[in-house]
Symmetry: C2
Subunit: 301 residues, 2 copies
C-alpha cells in the first residue's frame, strides 16, 4: 500500500503548497482521493500515470477538495482516454461537471460514471475481489464523507518445503493457497495448516477530511492500519475548530488513540502556520505513531 | 500600459507551462483576461495584488481559459474581499459559478456581478473616463469574444516655461490641460496651442484568443498599439488549424500586417512544440514587429 500526498493544505493554493489531493495505491488499484485545483499538475510532478486512475473519490464540495476535477476530466479527454472513469462524490457533483462539459461542447469520449452520495450511514461504494471502499459519514459544514479502503485477505502462503516433504502434487498448490486440505501422492489427508501459513493481515486506510472532532467515527475506523485525519488547527486556535467544523492535531490524535490505528497521518493544515512540525508535537502528547503529510511526500505500508 | 502573461499555452496545464491568463494594467485599471486553472497561484507568483482586480474578462468557456475562475472567486472570499467583482463572459458562466457556490454553501461576502455576453456584434462592455473595453466577436468552436482595451485620450501637456512667459495664473493651468484658451494676467487671449502640447496618443490592446484565421476582425482592431493573437500551430500543422478553429503563427502575422498594429504578441502555443522561437520565425516572414508571449513575461508599452 502506497500513499502519495499531492496536496495537504487547507483553503487556498499557494506557490508552495497545494490543496487536498492524494493517490492511494492498494492491491493494484490506483485511487485518487479528492482533487483540489492543480491536482493534474501534481499528478504529473509525482509521475502518476493518468491512465491508471479509474476511480476518483470526492469527500465534499468545498473548492479545496474538488476544483481540480473538471480540469482533470477535460485533460483525460484531450489525451484520448478510452477507459471508463468512476467519480464518487456528493450529490450535485454530476451537475457541476456536466454543465461545464455541455457549455464547452466538450463531452468526454470515454464513459464518465458518477456515483452520487447522499447517505448518512456508512455504505460500501466500491468492491471487487481485491479491495472494498466504504464511506465514513463525517460532520463538516456541508455534506461530507471520509472513505475507508480495505484490502481483502490474500491467499494463504504456500510453505514449499513442507509441501514437497508431504509429497503434494504441484497441481494442488492453488487449492492449498485457497485454504483447502489435500490428499498427498501417498494417499494421506494433509491438513492445510501443515503446509501453508496465514496470509499477511489485510491493510486498511481510513481517510477523514474534513471533519469536526467526532468520536462517532471511532468504531468504524477501529484498528485501521493507517488513519489520515485532518488537523486544520493547533491548540492555540482550538476555539476556531468547532465553529468551522474542523479538528486540531490533538483531537485527531485522540481519535487515533481511541481507534487504536496503526499509524496516524496528519494533514489539511491551515495556511496560517509556517511550521507544521508543531502539529506532530501536539499530536504526540496523545498518540505516538504520528506522521506528517506534506506535498509530494510518499508513505509505504 | 503593462501586460503580464500568467499563462499562454493551449489545452492542459503542465508542471512548466500554464493555460491562458494575463493581466493588463492600463490607465490605473488592473484587468484580468481569461483565467485558466492555476491562475490564482500565478497571480501570487507574479506579485499581482488580488485586491486590485475588479474586472475579469473571459473569452470563452473552454477549460484552459476559465477553470481557474471559481478558485479565484473562492479565494477572494476567504481573503475577506469587500470590493465588487465584475465578471464578463459568455452566457452560462453565471450558472457555472453560482451552482458551485451554492453547493458549497459558500456565497461570497462581496458583490459578484456577472455581465453575460451573447452578442454577435462588437459591443462596449465597460467604459469610464479612462478606458473602454469592447468585445471582438471571434470565430471558434464555441461562442467566443476577444476584447479591445482602449485608453481614452489624456489631458494636453502643459508647457510650463511658455505658461510662465505668457504670465498665465496657475489657477488656469487645469483649463489649459483641458484644451481651453485663457486670458493672461496682462489681459491677453492666449490660444491653448501656444502653451500646451497634445497628449500622448492613447494606447490600445486587442486580445484575440481563441480564433480561427478571420480577416473580418481586421477592421475593428486596425492600428491597435498591441495585438495579442493566438498562434496555436506552426505551418507544418496548418491543416489542423481550420478544423480546430485555431490559427497558425503566419495567419496571426497576416492579421497583424493587415490591421497595421504597432506590435504583435503571439501565444496559445500547442503543447506539442518544444521550441516556441519557431513561432516568431514564421510570423516574421509576414510581419516584423513580433514578440513571443511566455509565462511570467511582462511587456511595457
Amino acid at each position: 500500500m502506497k500513499l502519495t500526498i499531492l496536496g495537504c493544505y487547507a483553503a487556498t493554493p499557494r506557490t508552495f503548497t497545494n490543496p487536498t489531493s492524494q493517490v492511494l495505491e492498494i492491491n493494484r488499484h490506483t485511487f485518487l482521493i479528492d482533487c483540489g485545483e492543480g491536482t493534474q499538475v501534481e499528478l504529473r510532478r509525482n509521475k502518476i500515470k493518468f491512465s491508471r486512475i479509474q476511480h476518483i473519490f470526492i469527500s465534499h464540495l468545498h473548492g479545496d477538495h474538488f476544483y481540480g476535477l473538471i480540469g482533470l476530466i477535460s485533460t483525460f479527454r484531450l489525451l484520448n482516454r478510452e477507459t471508463d472513469l468512476h467519480v464518487y462524490g456528493p450529490k450535485g457533483i454530476k451537475e457541476i461537471i456536466t454543465l461545464q462539459l455541455k457549455l464547452a461542447n466538450s463531452w468526454t469520449n470515454y464513459l464518465l460514471i458518477f456515483h452520487e452520495l447522499e447517505g448518512k450511514e456508512p455504505q460500501v461504494i466500491f468492491e471487487d475481489e481485491k479491495v472494498s471502499v466504504e464511506t465514513i459519514p463525517l460532520k463538516h459544514r456541508i455534506y461530507t464523507n471520509g472513505f475507508i479502503f480495505r484490502e481483502k485477505p490474500g491467499l494463504r502462503k504456500l510453505l514449499i518445503n513442507e509441501a514437497v516433504e508431504h509429497k503434494i502434487d504441484v497441481t494442488l498448490y492453488q487449492s492449498l493457497k485457497l485454504g483447502k486440505d489435500v490428499i498427498s501422492e501417498e494417499g494421506k489427508l494433509i491438513p492445510n495448516e501443515y503446509v501453508t501459513a496465514p496470509p499477511d493481515p489485510p491493510l486498511s486506510y481510513a481517510y477523514c477530511s474534513d471533519t469536526v472532532f467526532d468520536m462517532d467515527i471511532v468504531n468504524q475506523i477501529k484498528e485501521s492500519s493507517v488513519l489520515y485525519h485532518e488537523a486544520t488547527f493547533l491548540e492555540e486556535n482550538a476555539d476556531l475548530a468547532f465553529p468551522t467544523k474542523h479538528s486540531t492535531a490533538k483531537q485527531a490524535a485522540t481519535i487515533a488513540r481511541e481507534a487504536n490505528v496503526g499509524k496516524l497521518i496528519l494533514g489539511h493544515y491551515s495556511t496560517r502556520y509556517a511550521d507544521i512540525s508543531l502539529f506532530a508535537k501536539e499530536a504526540n502528547l496523545i498518540f505516538s505513531r504520528v506522521e506528517l503529510a506534506d506535498d509530494g511526500k510518499t508513505f509505504n505500508f
